[in-house]
Symmetry: C2
Subunit: 315 residues, 2 copies
C-alpha cells in the first residue's frame, strides 16, 4: 500500500504482489488535529483494503509520502507545517494499529521514486524529479538510488537563490527560485499585475489558480502569456543549474501546473534556445530531450509510496 | 605515481606501498605541441623515479589529473583547451612507453579525491571540493564516491547562472558564477575599478594576481576590501545552492587564492550571517563549521592523482 499524504487530500493505492493496482481512494485530509489527521489516514487505508475485499493482515508493507522534513529511520514526520505535525511518530502509530511495517519519506522524494520506477520510459538511472506546486523541490535519483543528503535537504532547489533582489521567500531569504516559479508565485504575480491596472481575462477569476493563468495564456491573454514566458525563462536558468549540479539523463517536471505538458515546457525550451545561440556548453547541456513532464494520468506520489513499500519488503 | 597536469606546471608525486611520499617534482608544462606536452610529462615521471632510485618497472599505476573534459574509460583527454589537447589519447601513449597502467580524470575531480583521502580530518563521506582559480568547478564526493554524472559535467558550478545581467562568460552565457568569483574575475574587477579612476595600492602592481588583491585588502586597501567582500557575498550565495543541491557534510575550498585561509572565508561567512538574521533554513543549512579551506601545504591535485592510481590497483 502506498499513501500520499497532502495538505488537501490523502491518496491511497493498493497493489498486488505483481505491483498491479487493486484499489485506490482519495479523501480530504482531516486537519482538525494531528491525531485526527493520522486517524483519517488509517480510515483511508482500511477503506481501500475493504474495497479490494481484503484486510491489513494481508498487507506486506505501507509506504507513506509526507510533506516537509522526515526522519526516515524513526518513522517520524519532523516538520509538516501544513499538517501541524511536529515530530509526529506516524510510522509507529500506524504500525501499532495495523501491525504492518510502515516507511516514511518526504513526499517529493517519494514522487521521484515513483517516476523512476513507474514512469520511466527511457529506463533512466539518473534523473531529477522537480515538483512545482505551492513550493518547489526536487527528488534526485543517482544510479537508481534516491540522494538522501545529510540533513534531509538535498534537492531543496526551491531555495536556490535565483535573484538576490527578488521577492521575500517564506524561508526568510530574498529571491529564492520558488518566489519566481511556484504555482503560488504565478498567482501572486498575476494578482499584482491586475491590481496595478493590467488588463486580463483573469481580472474577475476567483479563486485564481496557476492553471487558470496557463489556460488564459493559451487562449491569447497577453498578461498571462508574459507571466508564463517569464516563469519559463527563470525555470530554464534554474534547470541549467540542476543539470550542472547532477548531470542527470533526464529532468522530469511534476505538479498540477505541469499537466499543461508541452505548453508548460515551451517557454523553458525557448530560454534554452536563447542560451544555445551563444554557448557551446549550453548546446551540450541543455538538450530538449533531457526535459519532460511526468505522466499526468498517474498520481506519482501514491505510486512512489508503493515503490517505498516495495523497497521495504525487497521487491 | 600521481601526476597533476596543469596549463602552467606538471607536478608529480611518487608514493610507496603505504602511500608515503618518496619523491616529487614540479616542472613547467611544455606547450610547444600536444605530443611535446606528453613527452614533458613522461620526462617528469622518469625524473621522479630516478630521484627515488627506482624505475617504471617498479611502478604499480599512474593516476593523472588533466584539465577539461576527460574520457576516463578510454583514457582520452577530450578537451583541454589550455594544453591544446583535443581527443588526445594520453593514457595509451604513456602506457605504451612505460608499460604501466594509467588512469585519467578531470583535475578538479582528482583534487576532490585527494581531499577526501588525504586532507579529511573529520572523515567526511560527503563533501564538495570547490576549486577557485582561472575558472571555478567542483568535485563532489557522495558516500565516499566521486559523482561522475552522465556527460562529465556534474559539479561544473562555475557555470551556474549567478546573475543573468552579469559579465559575459567564456562559455558564452552571461553572469556565470566564475565571472564573479574566479581569480580571473578578481583581477578583472580590480583593473576595471582602477581604470575607472579608483585609488588603490594595486594601481602600479604588475603582474597583478588575485593573491595581491587579498593581500592589499588585509593591508587596508579600500578598493581591494570592497572586491574581496563582494566575492565573499557572491560565493556565500553560490555555496548555499551547493548545500541545497547535495546536502554534503563539508564544503572545502581550494586553489591558490584560498591559501589566504580564514581571511578568504571571512566575507563568505559574513554573507551567511546576514542570511541567518532572517531565515531558519539559512541557520540550519549555512553552519560555519561546514566550510573550510584545503590544506595549503599539500598539492591536492598530485595527492588526488595518487588516490586515482591507488584506486586502479585496489588500494
Amino acid at each position: 500500500m502506498g499513501v500520499d499524504v497532502g495538505g488537501t487530500t490523502v491518496a491511497t493505492l493498493l497493489v498486488d504482489r505483481a505491483l498491479n493496482p487493486c484499489a485506490e481512494i482519495t479523501v480530504a485530509t482531516d486537519l482538525s488535529s494531528p491525531d485526527n489527521t493520522m486517524e483519517g489516514i488509517l480510515s483511508a487505508i482500511e477503506e481501500t483494503l475493504a474495497r479490494a475485499g481484503t484486510n491489513a493482515a494481508e498487507l506486506a508493507a505501507i509506504g507513506l509520502g509526507v510533506p516537509g522534513k522526515v526522519d526516515r529511520t524513526n518513522g517520524v514526520a519532523q516538520l509538516a507545517v501544513n499538517l501541524r505535525w511536529y515530530d509526529y511518530p506516524l510510522a509507529s502509530q500506524l504500525a501499532t494499529r495495523l501491525h504492518v511495517p510502515c516507511l516514511l519519506e518526504n513526499d517529493v522524494r517519494v514522487a521521484a521514486m515513483g517516476v523512476y520506477r513507474f514512469d520511466n520510459p527511457f529506463k533512466d538511472q539518473n534523473l531529477a524529479y522537480v515538483s512545482i506546486g505551492t513550493g518547489v523541490a526536487a527528488g534526485i535519483i543517482l544510479d537508481g538510488k534516491l540522494l538522501l543528503g545529510q540533513h534531509g535537504l538535498a534537492g531543496e532547489l526551491g531555495h536556490f537563490i535565483q535573484d538576490p533582489s527578488g521577492p521575500l521567500c517564506n524561508c526568510g531569504a530574498r529571491g529564492c527560485l520558488e518566489t519566481f516559479v511556484s504555482a503560488t508565485a504565478v498567482i501572486r504575480r498575476t494578482r499584482e499585475a491586475i491590481a496595478a491596472g493590467r488588463a486580463s481575462v483573469l481580472a474577475d477569476q476567483a479563486p485564481l489558480t496557476a492553471r487558470h493563468v496557463y489556460d488564459a495564456a493559451a487562449a491569447g491573454d497577453v498578461l498571462a502569456q508574459e507571466i508564463v514566458d517569464d516563469v519559463g525563462t527563470e525555470l530554464g536558468r534554474a534547470l541549467r543549474n540542476v543539470l550542472l549540479a547532477y548531470d542527470v539523463d533526464r529532468v522530469v517536471l511534476g505538479g498540477g501546473v505541469t499537466r499543461a505538458g508541452a505548453r508548460y515546457l515551451a517557454p523553458i525550451l525557448a530560454e534554452w534556445r536563447r542560451q544555445h545561440e551563444t554557448s557551446a556548453l549550453a548546446r551540450a547541456l541543455l538538450r530538449p530531450e533531457v526535459l519532460r513532464t511526468a505522466d499526468p494520468a498517474r498520481n506519482m506520489g501514491a505510486w512512489g509510496a508503493v515503490a517505498l513499500a516495495a523497497e521495504l519488503v525487497g521487491r
